[in-house]
């Protein structure tokens, strides 16, 4: 009688041990395969976050030699696992400036990209720059137009899921970047500013 009782207890302990083991293994498995969280990134349940790590071709827009229109400059960048990281890399490249002597940069190189927030359910990218994008800007209406749309056109051209872009300055929605263009709401790209049009 005593031995049967002891055997039953052992079976229960074994079952408990197995359950706990399965739970621990599962927890470890899910922890290892959990999607990486980006502190400054909001992403909808969307399209396939590209997981490719290989290099990627992008087009950046800079001012043409007359300072009238935007011209695309192709560049190859290091691949990134998430669309938010790709957007960041793209904007970092835009801030670094053009490699073409005939083109002009449209953002001061002192500018820092402070964050990227993606709301791809609504096709909107929020991009937050440090105050230098504004304080270092030459300030004319036409120059401001080119800076604003160099950012918007670059993102919308390279990331089809992005339909509109809102520029934030030092974490805030400002009235304008340099006193002329309304940036308190997300803006669509202006393809007609590209040299040669669409």
């Amino acid at each position: 009688m005593g031995s049967r009782k002891h055997k039953k207890t052992n079976q229960r302990l074994l079952t408990l041990f197995l359950i706990i083991s399965i739970a621990i293994v599962s927890a470890i498995y899910f922890a290892l395969n959990r999607p990486k969280e980006k502190g400054d990134t909001l992403q909808g349940p969307y399209p396939p976050t590209p997981m490719e790590e290989k290099n990627q071709k992008i087009t950046l827009f800079f001012a043409d030699s007359n300072g009238r229109l935007l011209v695309g400059e192709e560049r190859e960048i290091e691949g990134h696992p998430s669309i938010a990281d790709q957007v960041k890399e793209c904007l970092h490249q835009l801030i670094q400036g053009t490699q073409d002597q005939d083109l002009s940069p449209v953002i001061s190189p002192r500018t820092q990209l402070q964050g990227v927030f993606l709301d791809l359910d609504n096709g909107i990218a929020y991009v937050d720059f440090s105050a230098e994008i504004s304080t270092d800007h030459p300030a004319g209406p036409e120059a401001e137009l080119l800076t604003t749309y160099a950012i918007i056109n670059t993102l919308c051209h390279n990331f089809p899921a992005i339909k509109r872009v809102q520029i934030l300055i030092a974490g805030r929605e400002e009235e304008s970047l340099a006193g002329h263009i309304f940036i308190q709401l997300p803006l669509m790209p202006a393809w007609d500013l590209r040299s040669g049009g669409r």
């Binding site: 001012a63 009238r68 002009s104 940069p105 004319g140 790209p189």
Partner: protein, 257 residues
């Protein structure tokens, strides 16, 4: 007999005085009629209401563009606005208001709110340019257009997300484009530039976005170009710009007839 002669003489004097009075009265009537006719012609030339808001860009801590020689946009825009105000008031009898008459700053929405509250029938924001290329020169005109993209249509147009008070400019976009065209032509003509020099561009201009009247942002040359900075420093050059803008405004009003 003598009394008859005196009576006749008196009658003659009365008659002469009467004729003189009638002649003077007729002359007066002619003057009044002529004056009325001239006034009527003028009123037709520049139809009512004639209330313009001029907006000298920037101000106070906001210098706007600063040229290499130290000339600032806020100074140029205020000077030209004052010249233009004087010309419009004196020559055309138009009521003119400035969004700022001194060196202080105003937000962009405050500027438009002032014009909307006064129910102005034109709004002209004066600016100077800056370019990434220091050789860039000339004039540009900008009008409001939120639908700047020609990409595939969105389910929700960009302007739908604008609060209603910010959508005030939409119905005036064709008139604003026409005004921009006339301003451009007059400036090019005044400074002997080719007819099609300069740009007329639509965009989401913050200072025009809620204006309930035809509105244009005028870029009066580039302070980043040292040659244009020198010109803009010259009082006569600024007055010439104001003169050309005044002619354009007069032409715009005549076209409205």
């Amino acid at each position: 007999m003598q009394s008859l002669e005196r009576k006749a003489q008196n009658h003659g004097n009365y008659s002469l005085a009467l004729h003189f009075a009638l002649y003077t009265f007729s002359l007066l009537l002619c003057f009044i009629a002529a004056f009325s006719a001239i006034s009527a012609v003028n009123a037709r030339d520049i139809p009512a209401p004639r209330k313009i808001f001029l907006d000298p860009g920037h101000g106070g801590k906001d210098l706007g563009v600063r040229g290499k020689g130290g000339l600032t946009e806020k100074v140029v825009t205020l000077e030209v606005a004052k010249y233009l105000r004087d010309i419009l008031q004196q020559r055309l009898g138009i009521e003119v208001f400035l969004t700022r008459s001194g060196d202080y700053s105003l937000s962009l929405t405050e500027r438009i709110a002032l014009a909307n509250n006064r129910k102005a029938d034109l709004f002209i924001s004066l600016h100077t340019g800056a370019a990434f290329n220091p050789r860039r020169q000339g004039f540009n005109m900008f009008y409001m257009n939120t639908a700047v993209a020609d990409s595939e249509p969105l389910e929700q147009p960009p302007t739908d997300s604008l609060p209603s008070w910010l959508r005030g400019q939409e119905e005036f976009i064709p008139a604003s484009q026409r005004l921009a065209q006339i301003l451009m032509e007059r400036l090019n003509k005044a400074f002997y530039l080719p007819t099609h020099a300069g740009r007329i561009l639509g965009g989401p201009w913050a200072v025009l976005i809620g204006a309930r009247m035809p509105s244009v942002l005028v870029e009066m040359g580039y302070l980043t170009n040292p040659i244009e900075e020198d010109k803009l420093r010259d009082k006569i050059y600024r007055q010439a710009i104001a003169e050309a803008l005044s002619n354009a405004i007069e032409e715009y009003y005549r076209d409205e007839l």
